[in-house]
Amino acid sequence: MSDITKQSLSELVENIKSKKLSSSEVTEAFVERSDKSKELNTYITEDYANALNKAKRFDEKPNLDLKLPGIPIAVKDLFCTRDLRTTAGSKILNNFVPTYESTVTQNIWNEGAILMGKLNCDEFAMGSSNETSFFGNVQNPIDNNLVPGGSSGGSSSAVAAQLTPITIGTDTGGSIRQPASFTGTVGLKPTYGSCSRYGIVAFASSLDQAGPMAQNVKDCALLQEVISTYDEKDSTSIDFKRNEYSKELTKDIKGKKIGIPKEYRVDGMPKEIEDLWKKGIEYAKDCGAEIKDISLPHTNYALPTYYIVAPAEASSNLARYDGVKYGFRADGENLIDMYEKTRSEGFGAEVQRRIMIGTYVLSSGYYDAYYLKAQKVRKLIKNDFDEAYKKVDAILTPSTPSSAFKIGEKTNDPVSMYLNDIFTVPVNLAGLPGISIPAGHDAKGYPLGLQIIGKAFDEQNILNIAYAMEEKINFKNNITDWWIK
């Protein structure tokens, strides 16, 4: 039984469908391994007993036509789950238990999956290392004292450590792709409007997207197929024809034109990243793709634009956490005093920093210079991609400018922390789909990822390219279970 958790999602589904494994056996295996892995601090809230019960009930009357039959899954704690505490990694929601379910998680349960618990993340998804969580750091299973990336750090760590066969994260500026890259896993940020935002604790509404995180491209495609639905409860959800991504997955990408944007060769980029990128280009060629040099001239402005737009929206989105209706409340002399104490004590430093930035850039007198200007630049960044896609079908870049770093290494340097998202942020600003796949290791043996960016609604195409390249790259994650004593 010990090798159950080593199986991919696709294998587990196959084994449950062919009755070689029961949901209970699978769930027990992942619960047991999760339980032995507390050292990683991946879970904020465990729901093992319920999961085991649900698995038992599934086995009593198994519906094997479902896409995720009796598969246990732990999810990022940004998704509201009915009757199970949802914290967004924040003290201010420490005691919050939703009476409702997010559309994305509901889609997963509808396909037969079982909730195991809620995974750690940066507070309100604001961070690139999971160090802003009120519930503490998460360990990267790759090495002791290494960050798992962020904000979906609990999710990336849990998938890499095989505590859950797959998971979902959210990606506002790279929060799925960067942690996937840091942990040697696959993470897809879908097109904006592909997955419903209903029931996901909002960070920056115009950028937030939920997406799948998995051990391989095929699992990722299957989960994307499950979570992506049109939802009338989200006004920004888009009603387009969605593929059955896993069924239509193909390694035949002959003749696909893949663009290499010269602006992504940033100053001070480590040689190993440069080399990885070159290797990626060769892999793509081996798969039959045609490589073209392209230009995305406004790339340099993406990060500053992001750090205006995202905090602006966040400052407003987080106004509802005021101690009045739910969540943490500090006592105060009067209403204003209560607000100040609740929000000072309830929010961590990074969240407060972004609320301050956001409040500032929206202030009268500064709005035009910052927010409005940023929206204009955002449009230019989108135009860059539109231009590029007249010539190519997809774009290949590194996922991150470095491999995973040590816990505490960048906590006192927010700007260097923000630079982590330099390759992922433009994709969110343009609302495009992007996937990170593991493509190699650095000198320390830490994983490095490549990012494939697609046209809007063209998830199938980048999944296919990723699928083809995955085979050529033949990446093996080197995980020693060092945390299990």
Partner: protein, 487 residues
């Protein structure tokens, strides 16, 4: 220079001041559900029983626009002869308050759904046009209740998220009377359209009043003060009067007026400073990223146009042209949709002139006395119509009709039945009348002789006598005719 009798000026020493007023009216959209959620909007429900997760701003909840409210706003825009914008944008107005669960109000700032329009007022000395600057949709906040507990404030979120239309006028109003006429006209139009019930007691209609003063003849606008959230026409008028005089006194005193937000204290009948311009909130408006810009096609607007009922101005014109009513009469009858419906029901089967007089005269007086609305009238339109027909066909006289009307006010009864039961039918049989008249002439031989000798004034005496003898039931016209012959 106009020399309108109704011109409203404030005199101080040798100076005459004109008052310039603009209104921001908040009108609750008539709709079963809220602007961005499916919760009910019924007035007077138990606190916090009409609140969805969206209204209470739970994490991850998202607004979804209620198409019906959009239609209502567009219809109102059409009623205000305004430009309907094909594209409008919802913005967030950010501020903290306990009864504002999201920490922002979703409103429309730069791009409202309705642009410039106008409202025509019928003032005693003629018509006046008031410009509409814009109309936009926004959410209402909840209600803070401070008087239930000595230490705590309670919050009722039933109103949170209810759809409001903010209708902003141009600074075209010049007197409390014009404000009165403007609010009534606005309310009338919206009630015709069914887009706002205009109920000020329930808070469905309230206004922020912008007041400034300037020397008569000046074209420059003075510094204005905004009086927040006034919820009755009477209070608006009182507030304007107080505020205009306060500003004039300051100017006369050589002081300047501070642009500020003020509150009207209805008990003390005065306005008080709430916050100065410097303390004004910075609402940090920005487009709500949870909502796409609102796009409405020309076809959509045209279809709504085709659903618009006849509005007061058009109805007035028709009443004057078709029924030969005076502008005064037409104004009264169209001012309220219920009154005009009543009137049109009465005249379906009876004489217009009589109907007009009876409604404006007897009926209004009687309803006023009992403090009833036309919808609560004890006399239905059908029965009033029957009464008028009884007069018209000579069954009863106008005088008898008043007696019947009084009976009808006590409970809606068929006037024919009242006439029959009480024997009030008019005597129109010439033979019976002749007998009556002969008797009266016989009894007053001397007067008849005087009349014949040329004292024609006595004719009235004879008519009176005949009516008296008949118990008021004799047909006056026939009495006249027969008397003339007999005398």
């Amino acid at each position: 220079m106009s020399n309108n009798k109704s011109e409203y000026l404030i005199n101080r020493h040798d100076n005459q001041y004109e008052v310039v007023i603009g209104l921001e009216v908040h009108a609750q959209v008539t709709s079963e559900s809220k602007l961005f959620s499916t919760s009910a909007t019924k007035f007077g429900a138990e606190p916090n029983t009409q609140v969805s997760l969206v209204d209470a701003a739970f994490p991850g909840m998202l607004p979804v626009i209620n198409e019906y409210c959009v239609k209502q706003a567009i219809k109102t825009g059409i009623g205000l002869k305004a430009k309907i914008n094909n594209r409008s944008v919802f913005d967030r107005k950010n501020y903290f308050y306990a009864d504002l669960p999201q920490g922002y109000q979703i409103s429309q700032f730069k791009d409202p759904i309705v642009g410039e329009g106008k409202v025509i007022l019928d003032m005693p000395d003629g018509q006046k046009e008031v410009g509409i600057e814009r109309l936009h949709l926004e959410q209402d906040a909840g209600k803070s209740i401070h008087d239930l507990d000595p230490k705590n404030t309670f919050v009722d979120l039933n109103r949170s998220g209810v759809a409001l239309m903010e209708i902003v006028s141009k600074p075209d109003l010049r007197s409390p009377d014009e404000v009165n006429a403007y609010i009534k006209k606005l309310r009338s139009i919206m009630r015709y359209l069914g887009t706002c019930d205009g109920n000020m007691q329930e808070g469905s209609l309230r206004a922020d009043v912008n007041v400034s003063v300037r020397k008569k003849g000046s074209k420059d606008l003075g510094t204005r003060c905004e009086i927040k959230n006034v919820n009755s026409i009477k209070f608006m008028q009182m507030a304007i009067e107080y505020e205009a005089n306060r500003q004039v006194d300051l100017i006369e005193d050589g002081q300047t007026i501070d642009q500020e937000t003020r509150l009207f204290d209805t008990k003390k009948n005065e306005t008080r400073s709430m916050r100065s311009k410097e303390d004004a909130h910075d609402y940090r408006y920005f487009p709500d990223p949870d909502l796409l810009p609102l796009e409405v096609s020309d076809d959509f607007i045209e279809k709504l146009k085709s659903e618009i009922p006849e509005l007061p101005d058009e109805k007035k014109k028709r009443f004057i042209e078709k029924f030969k009513l005076s502008p005064y009469e037409a104004n009264i009858l169209v001012s309220d949709i219920e009154t005009s419906n009543y009137f049109e029901n009465v005249i379906k089967k009876s004489d217009v002139k009589l109907a007009t007089n009876w409604i404006i005269g007897e009926l209004f007086a009687a309803l006023n006395e009992k403090n009833l609305e036309i919808t609560e009238s004890p006399i239905s339109a059908g029965n009033l119509s029957k009464l008028i027909n009884l007069i018209k066909d000579g069954t009863i006289s106008g005088k008898i009709a008043k007696t019947v009307f009084e009976q009808m006010m006590k409970g809606d009864k068929d006037p024919k039945k009242i006439v029959e039961e009480k024997g009030l039918k008019q005597e129109s049989d010439p033979k019976a009348l002749e007998a009556l008249i002969d008797k009266v002439i016989d009894d007053n031989r001397d007067k008849a002789t005087e009349y014949k000798a040329g004292k024609v004034k006595l004719f009235g005496f004879f008519v009176g006598q005949v009516m008296k003898v008949s118990g008021g039931k004799a047909n006056p016209q026939l009495v006249n005719e027969i008397l003339k012959k007999k005398l």
